[in-house]
Symmetry: C2
Subunit: 188 residues, 2 copies
DNA sequence: TCGAAAGTAAACAGATCGGTGTACTTAGGA
DNA sequence: TCCTAAGTACACCGATCTGTTTACTTTCGA
């Protein structure tokens, strides 16, 4: 295994700090201190802090969706069960020691402007999640895969807010029960 | 109508700025400039910026829930229709010119620590919304009012994320359709 | 009418912000 | 072996941050 590049070190530590402390509240001095690199090195890899933020969001999108797909498909036998297993992944995620909500909802909160790159990357992440759900729905034989995907995602987003804002991690299970209704409707 | 007190001026302008630009990104200098008061005055009414933030969140909770209750009850004839009219209010809100998502989700994003006062006020706001939904569900004769209230709120939170992060303001209507399923189940 | 309370403008404090510049060191391939 | 690229440490820049202080003015009720 090759040693992580300086760039990777920076992105990894920035990702952790941005996720747990917020974007504006995390200064570049803190990032370079924890990543163990000089400020010169950071600014040779990223033109501005905003570009670093974008890089962390892109990495988060990759890591998050990979985990979601892996955990969803690991313990679900049938295509239909897979649609519900997404909520089991959600419950696992909520119980992570470092769970701090959805990084993309958080980014949108700090970067309100819809045309802002960080907000756009966040919207794109959500779109890709729905796309994955739609592929699951299609395989499962849903009558309206796109509709079902958005119904399931609506419940996922709701559960995330419950888990993060209200600290209610049982929300994943309740969302699963609600989801079953919509899965049943579309698959008989 | 009495002239607004200095304190009210400060809270009103701070509320608007925090909501549309974020908490960390909004400096007190900007607030006093737009409110037209001196820094001395601000700090005579609020010990710190954090206390001002708390005051804006409390005012937002009051304004938001008052509007929600008013708009929900205005155009809904029966108790059962009222449960769905909440989603009509949601759609109206999404189309506000200055819509910037849920201020309490945004606050939680910037103040991650669950024990942080701003996060706690946000959680309390959500609890009060669910409480209102439960009262509607009780009046409508739901079999499990608390359960129905949380189902409806789960859909509301999901719709808010769709509207804000993805810019999909039609989500309110889709959430309404989903909500109908759960209302039907509980009221026959 | 006078005195306290509440307001103003503006300088100031000390820290931190994102970002740059300088001078030196290290590592690796031609 | 030597050159280049990439790294380090650290001082520095101007701007901005939250919060305080000073000195003056306005308002208004006893």
């Amino acid at each position: 295994m090759p040693a992580p590049s300086k760039r990777e070190q920076i992105v990894d530590h920035a990702l952790r700090l941005f996720y747990s402390n917020g974007f504006h509240a995390t200064g570049v001095d803190r990032i370079i201190a924890e990543a163990g690199v000089s400020k010169k090195t950071l600014y040779s890899h990223f033109r501005t802090k905003d570009e670093l933020i974008l890089a962390t969001l892109r990495k988060r999108d990759e890591l998050f969706r990979n985990r979601m797909m892996r955990e969803t498909e690991m313990h679900a036998a049938s295509p239909r069960e897979r649609l519900l297993a997404v909520f089991d992944f959600l419950g696992n995620w909520f119980h992570d020691k470092d769970f701090s909500g959805c990084m993309f909802i958080n980014a949108s909160a700090e970067f309100a402007e819809e045309s802002c790159p960080s907000h756009m990357v966040s919207a794109e992440h959500k779109r890709l999640v729905v796309e994955y759900l739609e592929s699951l729905a299609t395989v499962a034989g849903a009558r309206e895969p796109a509709e079902l995907a958005n119904e399931l995602n609506m419940l996922m987003e709701g559960a995330i807010v419950y888990a993060y804002v209200m600290g209610d991690k049982q929300a994943a299970g309740r969302a699963r029960e609600m989801a079953r209704v919509f899965v049943d409707r579309q698959l008989d």
